[in-house]
Symmetry: C2
Subunit: 110 residues, 2 copies
Amino acid sequence: MSACFPVKLPEPPYYAVIFPSVRTNEDETGYSAMAEAMVERAARQPGFLGIESVRDPQGHGITVSYWTDEESIRAWKNDTAHSEARKHGRETWYADFALRVAKVERAYGL
Amino acid sequence: MSACFPVKLPEPPYYAVIFPSVRTNEDETGYSAMAEAMVERAARQPGFLGIESVRDPQGHGITVSYWTDEESIRAWKNDTAHSEARKHGRETWYADFALRVAKVERAYGL
């Protein structure tokens, strides 16, 4: 996986999963470890193209992951370790979040 | 405009403009004033649905704005004040950025 920010991606079309979230103050150590593990695991999935993730000191974060197609997003959603991580997220780490699946139609750079 | 994070949006479909950026170290005062003015101005445009914006202490930011349709995005791109702000952005404020226009097809919450 590329560590570039913004991440380098192929020409559209491809898919984006937009994930804005608000952290609780709970379990920073456990959260950080799991977040890092999930990025590494996502990067090994078929159809993964890249990820961009930012969190500010107030705990507001936006993560956008990019995928070749909807089937890859569905498979990642059904991944067992990822599902377990999401369960912890809902119960402990996130005060709020949204998840939006979008088809990228056009893209530009600087 | 709603100050909620994540922002409250209608049911899909709608459009998202995903804007990851890296700030230079130049002109924090001018940048902050312009960023705030542009969010306020965007919120008054036809078709604007909401915006989420996060920047981390390293200067990596992700802003996602949401719009009812592509025509609204095109009109905002052609707005004179916005075009002027983008020019300053390319010349001074941003070391790098990408802009991705995507159609949101599905959305979930906590």
